[in-house]
Symmetry: C2
Amino acid sequence: MTESEFLAGYDPAAYERPALAVDLVLLGIRAGRLAALLLRRSQQPQAGRWALPGGFVGIAETLDAAAERVLRDKAGIGRARLEQLYTFGGVDRDPRMRIVSVAYLALLPEAAFAEALAGGAALTAATLVVPWAGEAGGPVSAVTEDGAPLALAFDHADILALAVKRLRGKLDYTDVGFALLPEHFTLRQLQDVHAAIRGAPLNKSAFRRRMRDRGWIAPTGAREAGTAFRPAELFRFDRSGQF
Amino acid sequence: MTESEFLAGYDPAAYERPALAVDLVLLGIRAGRLAALLLRRSQQPQAGRWALPGGFVGIAETLDAAAERVLRDKAGIGRARLEQLYTFGGVDRDPRMRIVSVAYLALLPEAAFAEALAGGAALTAATLVVPWAGEAGGPVSAVTEDGAPLALAFDHADILALAVKRLRGKLDYTDVGFALLPEHFTLRQLQDVHAAIRGAPLNKSAFRRRMRDRGWIAPTGAREAGTAFRPAELFRFDRSGQF
DNA sequence: TAAATAGTGTCTGTGAGACATTATAAG
DNA sequence: CTTATAATGTCTCACAGACACTATTTA
């Protein structure tokens, strides 16, 4: 083993290598529910099924750079909060050849989500149906706005499921909730985002108290405009709050 | 982009691919402190520095299988709790060529840790010095039993640091603490393991209460043997406890 | 002034840290 | 009976859920 690795180490062509790709889970909020942006596969294999945007990793490109490139070129999104999720290395993930894929989680504010949908990238928004509670994990399915199921390609259902699990797990002790909101937001919007990620409602006063006590939010002084009734105060994320 | 990917997808030789490896962070407890098993590099590059055991991923081998193979062949350990940690994809990680490495965390009970040290694998135990508190993350250094620093190879200090961060983060809501203990253990041993991972002492009665209330531990009826004073009750991990 | 949502106050239960106290086995 | 550790009891505080209440803006 040591010798064969020695050889492999100095002769790049000695062993056949898996292909290496990145796949992006583009998450946002649509109609108060968690949603992902998917591409419809037009070619075999898995033609007609829905897939995560992805691409191969260049030989002189870091994984993060590859993810950013896919975000830009395949989804038409300039910036988003990107975070490595997990690496999927099943042998038969793709029938064409061995592809190991590093999955990334990208969190899009509502405006960026809508913009990506309207752009030329042919992305479709899929509402995520999460039948499990808490952070235990479990399957996730994707449906259209009307509730019609969308068949997912390859192992992308597993990737989506892990993305939701990770997002739920990080909700309470990181700033992921803010990554899905515009820079200025009301506490109600923030609470709705948290409820969508958790898949369960939250207590209003307890939620507001927690956000305040942790120092995560800072008042902007401004108020919501164009509401039918009493406008809410606008806040922004206060990065100085302790984690 | 779409076209070049199409070509890459069907012609495996069309683009140069990064090499893909796994690296294992073998963690255990030594002298009440967190420790890792390392190999001394005998050849260039980075000769004399200390590295994590690792190996290349076979073309028809899953990532998990590659990690298990390295565990067996390079560390001489039959079984351990293995968990994917993170994938390191810096372009200049290794000066020989582009190598993307999937890091795995392996948790060894004290006996397996000692056995691996005594085996023929030339592994050395390095005590981990963790200068940061909580789950924030930060640098980690490795020292010998006498406190002499061990220079780590490549980006392996980053991998170790992330392993410790992950371990701390999972300590309170998963069973990682039990993975470092033999099947039967005293509550004091369990508390010592938790203290070693946290890098901070724990309150005794609160700790026992928490372990009991969560249903994580089950009494065996047996007691410690060979102690100078009152022997403690032996417990085992109760997998039915809720997480 | 009615409607509808924004925002606050207070009670209660849970869980963890601090610390004192009791229990028990070995010599 | 001494010693050292095992194991438990209790006080207090922090924090979150439940729920009722007050405040404010628009139409």
